[in-house]
């Protein structure tokens, strides 16, 4: 089992998760993060850290649509180990529904 970042992260990208992750398994895209499923040790530390409640276990119903996307983009985006500056309008996008269509495949920095 592993944890998965889901669409709640899109355009929020608070990045609190990367500070607490003991194994540095987060990867950063232009407008969201993903978890590398082979590096996650399932410790669950990140889940309650996320203000957007975007991180769920892969057994969660909300994870299904995001498992493959986490795996795929974790190998394409840069690793992130320190929290950066969240988007200026991150709070405005928190709890907004239907953000999946806004997903960007571009790498972040």
């Amino acid at each position: 089992m592993t944890y998965v970042v889901t669409e709640n992260c899109i355009k929020c990208k608070f990045m609190d998760c990367v500070e607490v992750c003991p194994v540095d398994c987060f990867y950063v895209g232009e407008n969201m993060l993903v978890i590398h499923p082979d590096e996650c040790i399932d410790c669950g530390v990140c889940e309650p850290e996320c203000p957007a409640e975007a991180i769920v276990p892969d057994s969660d119903d909300h994870a299904a649509a995001w498992i493959e996307r986490n795996r795929s983009f974790a190998t394409q985006w840069p690793n992130i180990t320190r929290k950066g500056e969240p988007p200026a309008d991150a709070d405005d996008w928190k709890d907004k529904p239907d953000k999946a269509a806004l997903f960007s495949p571009e790498p972040g920095g």
Binding site: D38, D42, V45
Partner: protein
């Protein structure tokens, strides 16, 4: 005690609990017939070798249980380098860890540590013995 120390008192108590737990647990691990030799080869047998290892593991468990963010590392690769590691050793590790938790921690805290350890062990075991191509032989019966 300063105000800042007072504010952090629960965490300090918890840190001390982690330290006591790990000292007891690894004392048992080092004397265990199945796990002892593996750890002796990987970490060593002297206090000089074990002191930094215990400090590192205290950081790990502090990060996992208290979300302190102190540990950043790659435990998966650390275990991958152990040639004499066997999948069944995770069960022994968890049994000793569970006993040590029960001896040192309050019951509900002990449950939380055991639950977290069980999930991490499953994850590492799956990664080391089921997911890696070429590792199938390590789980196959002799």
């Amino acid at each position: 005690m300063t105000l800042e120390q007072a504010a952090r008192a629960p965490d300090l108590v918890a840190e001390n609990g982690i330290r006591r737990l790990l000292e007891l647990f690894y004392d048992r691990v080092r004397r265990d017939a199945q796990l002892g030799p593996v750890f002796a080869r990987a970490v060593g047998t002297t206090d000089a070798e074990w002191t930094p290892h215990l400090a590192r593991l205290t950081d790990f468990w502090s990060s996992v249980m208290l979300r302190s963010g102190r540990y950043h590392g790659d435990p998966f690769s650390a275990h991958l380098r152990l040639p004499d590691l066997e999948a069944s050793m995770f069960d022994r590790w968890l049994a000793l860890f569970g006993e040590s938790c029960a001896d040192v921690l309050e019951p509900d805290v002990a449950d939380a540590f055991r639950e977290r350890a069980g999930r991490i062990a499953s994850s590492l075991r799956m990664g080391l013995f089921e997911r890696l191509p070429g590792n199938a032989a390590r789980t196959a019966p002799p």
